[in-house]
Structure formats: structure tokens, C-alpha cells
């Protein structure tokens, strides 16, 4: 059970099926003394409705568009990428419609939309059919991301609508995002499991848990200069540049995959340091435009009870809990002007997460950080 739960892809929508059963889905609020989320969030509204689940919503720099992934394409049970106009509500599909996709992001330089996709896999249609048949059989399985080795990073060029392939390495390349100037892309690659000699242990891991090989990479906007930044055993993923481009934030799993924490580093991979040490699964970090704090998701309160937290950008204070509603709350993304927060939630009680948006009280967040107790000095670790 835990083995599959920890398969949280970098920024992927992580959905806790209702069918989990037992007491696992029950939120563990008792004794946490959590204040109500209305302290930070107001005018909560639901952004996505259509399809089984949606998530990973990221804004264009002017806030007028949001790109997201959703399982809503007729005949395709997997995520496809969609672009939503925040002004009119119009939605269009960006990705090819075939295969699996994930993790889109809009360039501040020219609006180009990057995402990862398996549509070039000759088996992609067959895999769609298999998944549809599986679901129609009425069986349930826990939501699980499979780190498809055919996943590569693509960009839809806004100037001419062409789809450009940026990575072609064997192995999962995904979870990409642009640098603020649109010149660089930071992403996750598991290509290591197909390169060089694997030890006996690594060979076994490659079969049961490819995410073990996840490392953070950067490349230029045209796909050139691909470079590996992390070298620590265990899954590194879900990277984003800081809003000023000064650093990169991501989350790092322990080698055994049982614990994840939020880390930051310089864009060249130096000065890697953790911001959290809950001993829980803390992931999906995103830096607020003020550069004052990082929003992330954690199951600190219980095995399957994910909530949104924030922590100061230096990781000097204890994190502050944001969401307090039953169900999954994660993948927080502030609006570019810092006055709103989008995130993925199952608070509506549905089987899959959907994207929500709320007004965000930045001053309340700063005040909460100021009154948060100090945390032990972050420890530096070798790269």
C-alpha cells in the first residue's frame, strides 16, 4: 500500500481514491489545533468541472491564461493538456489528444507551452484502450503514475502552433517548467536507468520503482545543453525556478522513498538545502512571487491527509498549515500577482481532484510566518 502511495510524481495530481477504505481517508485533525483556512483563503471558487480529474494548473505571467491537465478527452482515459482563458472560460486542448501527458507550463517570453507526452509511443492508443477496458470492468485501483519511459518534453510554439520535441532520451523526461526569462527549462529525467551499468539492486529498482532514478536536469529552450543537477539516490522531481530565476525549488525523496522534503538549489545545482524536515511526504513546492515563502503539500497530519502548507523561503521557520478542509489539498500555485492561490482538491467529494482558486491573503501569510517557531538549522548536504 505504501509502496504505491509514495509514487507521487513531481507535480502530478495525486488523487486519493474514495475506495481507499478503512480509516485512511479520514482527515486527522484531532489535536492539530489548526486554524481555519479562511485566515488565508477567501472567495473559494471551483475552476474545473469537466472530466474525471484535473490538476497542475499554472498561470501565464499576465494571469490571463492557465494551462492544466485533465482526464476529459473522449476515448482517452489519460491526462491531456488544456489551456483555459481566465477571462472568458474558453478551453482548448493543447496536447495531441493521444497518449499520456503531464506537467505543462507557459513561457513568459513568448507564451510557448511546454508539456510531456507519450503520443509518439506506437503503443499509446493500445494503452488507452486497455485502460478504458480496465475501468469499464468496474475494478478500482489506487491512482498511480507509471513514469512511462516514452514520456518526452514537447513545446507548442505559439507563433505557428507547431509542436516541437525537446528531449528524446530513453526514459521518462517530464515535470518541466520555464525559467522566468523563458530561456531555460528545468525538468525531471529518469534516463539514468537506461544508461551505463546498473548494479543488481538498481536493476531490481528499475523494474519496481523507476522513480528511484529521477534526477533534476536543465536545458535551453531549444532542448540543447541538457545537464544533470542532482546526483543523490532516490527520486528528485517537480522542479521550478524561483520567480526571479535566482534558484530552483524541488522535492527530494529519501533513498527508500518513504519521506520527501522540499529543497532549493542554485540554477547550476550548487548549494542544495532542505526547507522542510517533517519526516513525512512534503512535495509540490512553488515559490510565492514575493519570494518570501514557499507553498507546498504535505501529509504531515496523516498518511493520506494532504494539506497545503507554507514555509519561509530560507526554511528557517516551522511550516504553517493553510488548508483545513476534508479531502486532498495540494499542488498549490499562486497567481502571478500573488493575490490568488490555485490548488488541486477533492473537497467537493468527487473521486478525482479538481482545480480551485481563491483570493490569497499575503499579509496574513507573512504574519503567520513571523509568528511561526524557528526550525533547526538546515543542514547542507553534498551535491
Amino acid at each position: 500500500m505504501f509502496q504505491s502511495l509514495r509514487r507521487v510524481s513531481g507535480r502530478l495530481v495525486f488523487v486519493l481514491p474514495i475506495a481507499l477504505g478503512g480509516g485512511l481517508t479520514a482527515p486527522v485533525f484531532a489535536g492539530q489545533g489548526a486554524e481555519d483556512e479562511s485566515r488565508f483563503l477567501s472567495r473559494i471558487r471551483r475552476l474545473t468541472v469537466e472530466g474525471r480529474r484535473a490538476g497542475e494548473g499554472y498561470f501565464s505571467p499576465d494571469g490571463k491564461e492557465m494551462v492544466f491537465q485533465s482526464e476529459r478527452e473522449p476515448g482517452n482515459p489519460f491526462f491531456q493538456i488544456y489551456l483555459l482563458s481566465m477571462e472568458t472560460g474558453d478551453v482548448r486542448r493543447v496536447s495531441p489528444g493521444q497518449g499520456k501527458t503531464t506537467c505543462a507550463f507557459i513561457s513568459a517570453k513568448n507564451g510557448d507551452i511546454l508539456f510531456a507526452s507519450t503520443h509518439l509511443d506506437p503503443r499509446s492508443l493500445e494503452l488507452q484502450r486497455e485502460e478504458i477496458e480496465f475501468r469499464e470492468s468496474g475494478q478500482e485501483r489506487r491512482y498511480e503514475w507509471d513514469y512511462d519511459s516514452h514520456m518526452d518534453v514537447f513545446v507548442e510554439r505559439r507563433s505557428d502552433g507547431e509542436l516541437v520535441r525537446l528531449t528524446d532520451a530513453r526514459g521518462y523526461d517530464a515535470e518541466g517548467s520555464w525559467s522566468p526569462d523563458g530561456e531555460w527549462i528545468v525538468f525531471t529525467s529518469m534516463r539514468g536507468m537506461f544508461e551505463g551499468e546498473l548494479s543488481e539492486r538498481e536493476t531490481r529498482l528499475a523494474e519496481i520503482d523507476p522513480s528511484y532514478f529521477g534526477e533534476i536536469w536543465t536545458m535551453r529552450a531549444d532542448g540543447s545543453e541538457q545537464r544533470r543537477l542532482t546526483h543523490v539516490p532516490g527520486y528528485d522531481g517537480g522542479p521550478f525556478y524561483f520567480p526571479d530565476g535566482s534558484r530552483i525549488i524541488w522535492r527530494r525523496f529519501s533513498e527508500d522513498g518513504l519521506v520527501a522534503d522540499v529543497w532549493s538549489m542554485n540554477p547550476d545545482g550548487s548549494d542544495q538545502r532542505p526547507l522542510t524536515d517533517f519526516g513525512a511526504m512534503s512535495w509540490a513546492p512553488y515559490v510565492h512571487p514575493s519570494l518570501e515563502y514557499v507553498l507546498f503539500a504535505s501529509n504531515k497530519l496523516g498518511f493520506s491527509n494532504f494539506e497545503v502548507y507554507l514555509v519561509d523561503v530560507a526554511g528557517e521557520k516551522e511550516p504553517v498549515r493553510i488548508t483545513t478542509t476534508d479531502g486532498f489539498d495540494g499542488l498549490p500555485v499562486p497567481t502571478p500577482d500573488g493575490t490568488g492561490l490555485a490548488w488541486t482538491s477533492t473537497r467537493h467529494g468527487g473521486e478525482g481532484g479538481q482545480i480551485y482558486l481563491a483570493d490569497w491573503d499575503h499579509e496574513a501569510a507573512l504574519a503567520a510566518l513571523r509568528s511561526a517557531p524557528s526550525r533547526n538549522e538546515p543542514t547542507e548536504t553534498p551535491q
Binding site: 472567495r43 471551483r46 468541472v49 481566465m86 472568458t88 472560460g89 486542448r93 493521444q98 467537493h348
Partner: protein
Amino acid sequence: MNRRRQTLIGVSLVLAPFLTLPAAGQTPEELRDDVLALTGPGTEGRAVGTPGAAAARRYLVSELEAAGARPLPGQDGLGIPFRFISGVEDRGSSLRAGGHKRFGSDQVRAFAFSETGEVRGELYFVGYGIRVPENAGVSYDSYAGHEVRDKVVVVLRHFPDGVEDETRSVLNRHADFRSKASAARDQGAAGMVMVTGPGSEGAGELAPDGFDISAPGSQGILAVSIDGAAGDRLFAGTGVSLAEVQRSLDAGEVDAGSFPLPGFATLAVDLERTPASGANVVGILPAADGSLDPPYVAVGAHYDHLGMGGGGSLNPHGPPAVHPGADDNASGTAAVLALARTVADSPLARPVLVGFWSGEESGLLGSRAFIRNDIRPDQLAAYINLDMVGRLEENRLTVQAMGSSSVWPGIVERANVPGGFDLALSDDPYLPTDSSAFNSESVPTLNLFTGTHTDYHRPSDTADKLNYEGLARIARFTGLVARRVAESDPVPEFVQVERAPETATSRVSLRAYTGTIPEYATEIEGLLLGGVMAGGPAETAGLRKGDVIVEFAGTPVLNIYDYMNALEAARIGEPLTVVFLRDGERHEVTLVPTARP
């Protein structure tokens, strides 16, 4: 690349993107003005068929006309009247038993569902007069072993006291006035006389007449209640008193209480059903190209409320008082009016039908009459209903009936990006509001609702308690939904949602499934099918929408009440016979109930 472009075109056919948003719409102040007009002096709670409702209607007609709305083709004006039965009058019912036992209207009250006429027959007491169908889990039959054909049965009101809880709930379901009348009718009795026993609550009192405005038809038998004194007299000469018999019955001895009573009875009922009329307000706003041709995008709200109180009031014991119904449903009416004005200024791709219904509080009288008599369902692309939308709290808007078309999730999502509500969504289209009338006729529906509150159906549902800013936003959101519907080509497809079993019949429904969709509140004798579930036993048996079931598993069916009772006899996998009328001809099919899918 090509594939992607092709599919994008495919998407745009379904939901054409629009680049311009409708005008901002009405201001909160304008919505308040409309609510104040609808709840103000002279409207008196807007009860169907009253001068108060007529005053509200005149306001709506003049406002809609000012916005440029046209009458529905074939109608003279925006007001469209409909007829209903507003009540029954007992013009003098009587019971005679032998020469010296004569009871007049002071001791005899006809049930509203009684036949009118006179019958004669021997008197026969049958205890509580309850027959529980065989496999309902409880065995109870007041008629077992007794022949009552052509006799006038005397029954006790209520059901035996002192039985176990589980038995109690089953008996309770078969102890209502209509069920007892049906049981007597099915046993061949000529009439039913009910008395409230000395051991029951309200001992000796006449029973209320049981009038149901949404199902005012006859139960097919003469049926009256009599007072306790008359009841006692009927037992004179039997050697036992009614009180003693009731005690035995309450102790669980079913057989203790069925025996002939002395005397030959003449039961006479003279009942008059009071015809009444109400009126809907319906206007058409032309499309952007000036077209007035269907299909229309329909948007509506009921404008009636409870008047001075009465049966629907949750303040029934208070003195009569104006129930202003500001939230229920001046709010929805004002929002639809606002939408109509906005659409008049910036028309949509299809004409918009605006409907204000009356008689909703009495059982969807106006909307049912409209969809049956005044329009063809296929002339409506979809129907969006607003009922109680004036109390937006914490930004939470409930949108119901999402399951009635596959287009709704996409349309509601797109409308809510500018709309900005924290949506609570539900698929169920079987709602206690006008949208149900349209769903019954296979029109995709949506219902908007901001939640119930402590002022619901009370004189305190006043205009000062509404959230007008929220109401204006809801009107605008409705406009965005309507716009998307107008741009849907082809029109939204209708999806038949399976009706969740109702509480009263859930035990039964969970056992055996027939896949019939009963039509409620019709004047037709029998059970009119509003539809059948695709692939369900009824469809397999050959039944279809429009058929009228008159007999089910050997039990005559005169109305929905009979049908619900008859359903209890259905068992999974056991074939039963359904007799029905189609185009006036009698047919018979075999239906095999299945387990609920």
C-alpha cells in the same frame, strides 16, 4: 500535427468559443427593485390562482414586454393560463345503517379522493383495513379469510399500536387513507368507512379529507370518515365495543377484528372538485440574427409562493400571514428577469424562452401544464431553472441536474471561470422544483440553488435578507450558461438519469427493479409512464413512454399510489403480468424484475 488541428475543429463544433462576454448585466440594486415589487403590497404571497399572484404576473408581463419579449407562437400574450383542481367540497355525504342509524354531514366527511355516488351493501368491519403485500417482510392482512365483495367495509384509522418498530414502519406505509381505500376497492368492497378508534390519537375525530392538489383524482371507491359516536353506534348489537376490538387488534391479534356488523348500509357521497386556474408568463427573446424559431434556450423560475400560509407553510399554527417568499422564489424570478433584459440587449445565438411558472408550491402545476400543453419538448434546447438563489453564502452555489446532459460539466466549468462560484454539483435531476417537469419530458435541465435556511416557507422569508450582489452574479452566471447552450450545435443531448429509490419505497426498490419511470400528478386513470430505463425490465418487456399501466401483478392500478403498493409484490426474476393501455388499446406483457443495476 494534422490530427491535432482536426480534433481542435471537432471540439469547436461542440462548444464554439466566444470572444465577447455579455454585458455586465443587471446591478444588485435593480434586482432588489424587482424582488421588492414581487414581494410588495398587493402581491400577498403570490399563491396560485389568487389576486396576489395576478398582481405579480402583471408586473412580470409588463417588464418582459418592456424588454421586448414576444408571445410564444400560437399564444395571444405573455400570460398562458392553466387549469387545476384547487380543492374539493363535500356537499353532503351520509351513511345509513338500518332504519335507525342515520348519520349526516355533521358526522360523515367524504375523503377528497372518493368517488361520488351512492352504494348499498352489508356492513363489514375489517380492523385496520391494512393489506401488506406478500413479500414486504411483514405479514399483515385485515381481509384474510373474509369476503367483502359488494359490502361496505368499516376500518380503523392509523395502524395497530404496540408493534415492533420494523413492523411499524411497514404497516405505516400501508396505512394511509388512499392505501386503505385501494385495499378495500381491490377486495371488491362497495365503499369504505373509516373511524378514528377510541384508543388512537384524535379519538373519535373525523379524518381530514386528504386532498392532494397535485393528485386530485379519485381512488375508485366511495370513501368517508365518520366520527366516534357514529362508529360506536355501528357496533351496537354486536356484543363487543369498538374500544375492546381495538385493544385486541393493538395487542397484535389481526383476526380479532374482522366480522360483519349488523344492518344494511347506504353510503352516499356528494363531492365536488373545485376547478381553478392559474397562469404562467412566457416570453420569447429573439436570437442575434432576429430568429424566433425553436429550439429555444429556456430559462425559468416559479413566481408563486404560499400566499397567507396554509398547507405548505412551516408556520402552520400561526395566524394567517403574508408569506413573502423573497428567496422562494422572488429571487429566481428577479434573476431570470435580469437575464431577460441582458439577453434583449445582447441576444444569443438562439432565441431564449423565458418562463415564470405558477403553482410550483402546489406541485409544479404551472410548469407541468406548460410542457404538456403549450410546447413540444423538442423545441427546447435545454431548460435552466432558478429556485431559491437569493441567499448566497460563502460563495457556495449549488448546481443540480448535472447528469441530465453530457454537455453540462463543460458548460458549467466555462461559465464558472468568470462566474467564480464555489460550486456544489449534483447529477440528480429529480428535484422538488419545476426543472423536474422538463426532465420528465426528456429536456436537459439545470437547477441553481443557494441552499435552504430557517426562514424557508415562513413569513420571515423577506426581501431584506437576500444577498443581492450574489443574486446579480448568479443572474450573470446563468446568462453565461445560456449563452453556451445557445452556441451548442447540435443542441445538448438528453441523458436519462436513473431515479434514486425514494425513502418510502427504498426497501422494495432495492429488492426488485422494473425500470419504469412513473409520471406523477396526472389526471389519467392508471399509471402514465414518463419513460422507461434503457435496457431495464420494462423496456425489455416492450413498455415505453406514454403507456398507461392499469394493472400490475394482478393488482389494479388507478394512480401512482396504487402503483407504489403494487411494486412491493415484484420479486427479482419472477415474471409478472403488466396490463397497459397504448393508444386506447389494452395490452398485456410479461415483465421480469431484476436486481437494481
